[in-house]
Symmetry: C2
Subunit: 398 residues, 2 copies
């Protein structure tokens, strides 16, 4: 019998229940976090790949850090009045996800402390889990993580890094306020803790002013910041970036070499060509109009159909809305026993998004890859079944 | 000060010396393991990407295991009279390199035993190092690893897996004989040890009969086998595969999810399209003709120019020829102090290819990405400088 490493643990994140309904044409899934197929700049990317493939060098190896001209363009894209970034601070990755793995690999011995927002992104936990951390949860408010709770943890525990999604958080949609960004950086400096800033939704703002990234406010070289083309171009490219001071980037690049040598030369070159010939900001603006309309549709439907015992977030951007049900409800059980079979609606139940407390009364809804009428119909079905569930006593045990 | 994980160690593999000469137009580098740019099926891949990009679904997420139709084609490609493989046994990876990382991640706790061929592939050590193994070296002969030495290790130490490159080994070019393949599998079964078979050069045979893969001979589900499109199509695609029994593939796929979610939908679909419309075997045959000529050129030049105290391997395929110098010579020091500055030739010195013994008297030469006259000129320069080095007493200390 093969004995696996300690890091390999049986996992049930409640998503397997959804797969058995995946082929049901009646299913309306708010579970996945997919961008909208229709909004990919397909023709433009076709031109970019065509052009890349006129030179055979774009099919060759090209180095672990990633294509210099693309890193330069990303540095420009993330530069702001607070800070100018350079290519020397950027490593290209397989989506932001690989940045999560590389950062954990750089910093964590088994048992080391990691602070996460509660709830947080499931994929981050799946990346970190491989390095067997000790998790500490910090509650989330509308303006981001609870800094008093964070300080208590930092005072009493040894923590290697604080993982935060400051812009349109996954799964809650909350955005860390500017004051809290500055306070978070002061805390990190005081306790000498790295901040891992994961911000794939940063450019997807539907209203209000963009806030400076943690990386751009950082004066102590304590922020590792992740971005991605997955949500602003297309996830099928698997291309993201990691921003860090060169002292951290050098060992991270060595780890990238060991992980997969480098990202695809062809993909990097084609995205570079796309950025040479097309206006990414204009493309993002177009996407944001479409996504904003979908979110408005979902919020209006939630307001109309949800029972009053259920609250929901109203983000200014991103991909997700988060529902909070009465504390006694287990949304995983509810999904499996009632919502999937009776309402044919899927969502992400919250228990697995809290690595310590496993709070089960939350629901993550995505709105980006459905049309408005499907969003409305799905929310209607969900609202009606939740209304029944919360008023009938035998559902309360679920 | 940020404290890194224990796995992060300062590394000097002797390759940095080469980088300072990288822009010298006089440099002839036998160091890299690059396939030949000129042999990429560039036009055919251009057509495949063009066709993939007519459907926006190929820019979307598509699942961690990888595209089913491509996995089916790979299963056919690796099936033989010994064994038929199915898509359910295949996970698509970022080159074979990611398979090294995933396997180590699946199996290794810090200190666990890993057997490697001595010398072995540097990139494998860089993948395994992150999981802090205890290495055991097994000497290599012309017909592959020394099974008596292996058995002694398995008798006296706890080993999680045996890492082998059975076909045209990197760096020696040696191929494991059929009898030894069968004996290796018996040993693995007796001591309940996984075999990690890494075979990116398998299809690049210039003469003789192909031998069955370890995976195809395995009746105990103890082999994890890695393949790649890097050497038979193009490395810039970053696409490889891992073959294992579904009981191992399930946790490996979970690890892949945490590493980078999935491989690029677009790349997978384009390679699938390429295989639909083109004859990969014919392409490989064409490549093998070109590579065989380059190897013949290099061997003839080595025979002509090398001093008699230096021996070299004459493989039946693959990318590399391995030179053995007298035991007192340190080829890393020789490279840095004499060969690079005086002969303007680069190679991979052997010390870092032996994780325990650091034997320093070997040289790895690659012949695939140079034209015949450059190969000849480079070997002439190398042979002349080695002849001088080995006859002049003050060089002997190098």
């Amino acid at each position: 019998m093969v004995k696996f490493a300690n890091r390999i643990q049986p996992c049930d994140n409640g998503l397997n229940d959804i797969f058995s309904y995946a082929n049901d044409p009646a299913l309306i899934s708010f579970a996945a976090g997919y961008p909208n197929n229709q909004l990919f700049p397909q023709t433009e990317l076709q031109g970019a790949f065509n052009s890349s493939l006129t030179d055979n060098i774009n099919l060759q190896y090209s180095g672990a850090a990633g294509l210099l001209s693309l890193r330069t363009k990303i540095a420009q894209h993330i530069s702001s009045q607070q800070r100018t970034f350079t290519a020397a601070e950027i490593l290209l990755t397989q989506g932001a996800q690989q940045g999560l793995d590389l950062t954990a690999k750089l910093l964590l011995n088994p048992g080391d402390g990691v602070v996460v927002e509660a709830p947080t992104y499931l994929g981050a936990l799946s990346a970190f889990d491989a390095y067997e951390p000790t998790y500490y949860e910090v509650p989330l408010h509308d303006d981001g993580l609870d800094l008093n709770a964070l300080q208590k943890i930092l005072l009493t525990h040894s923590v290697k890094f604080i993982y935060t999604i400051p812009d349109f958080q996954n799964p809650t949609g909350s955005t860390l306020s500017l004051a809290k960004r500055q306070a978070l950086l002061r805390l990190a400096a005081r306790y000498d803790v790295i901040i891992l800033e994961d911000s794939p939704y940063r450019d997807l703002r539907f209203s209000g002013q963009s806030l400076p990234s943690l990386a751009s406010l950082d004066t102590q070289n304590l922020v590792i910041s992740l971005g991605s083309f997955s949500k602003i171009l297309a996830p099928g490219l698997r291309l993201g970036w990691l921003v860090a001071t060169p002292q951290l980037l050098a060992p991270l690049t060595e780890l990238k070499l060991g992980n997969d040598v480098q990202s695809s030369t062809l993909i990097m070159n084609a995205v570079d060509q796309y950025l040479d010939h097309h206006d990414l900001s204009a493309h993002i603006t177009k996407m944001n109009h479409a996504y904003a309309a979908k979110m408005t549709t979902m919020c209006a439907a939630l307001k109309h159909y949800l029972p009053t015992a259920v609250t929901f977030t109203q983000p200014s951007g991103g991909f997700f809305i988060y529902l909070t049900l009465p504390a006694s409800v287990d949304t995983g059980q509810l999904l499996k026993r009632v919502v999937l079979p009776q309402a044919k609606v899927a969502y992400v139940p919250s228990a697995s998004l809290f690595p310590v407390s496993h709070q089960a009364n939350g629901i993550r809804l995505n709105f980006t890859n459905l049309d408005n009428s499907t969003i409305e119909l799905g929310v209607k079905r969900l609202g009606e079944i939740l209304t029944r569930a919360l008023t009938q006593p035998h559902y309360a045990k679920l």
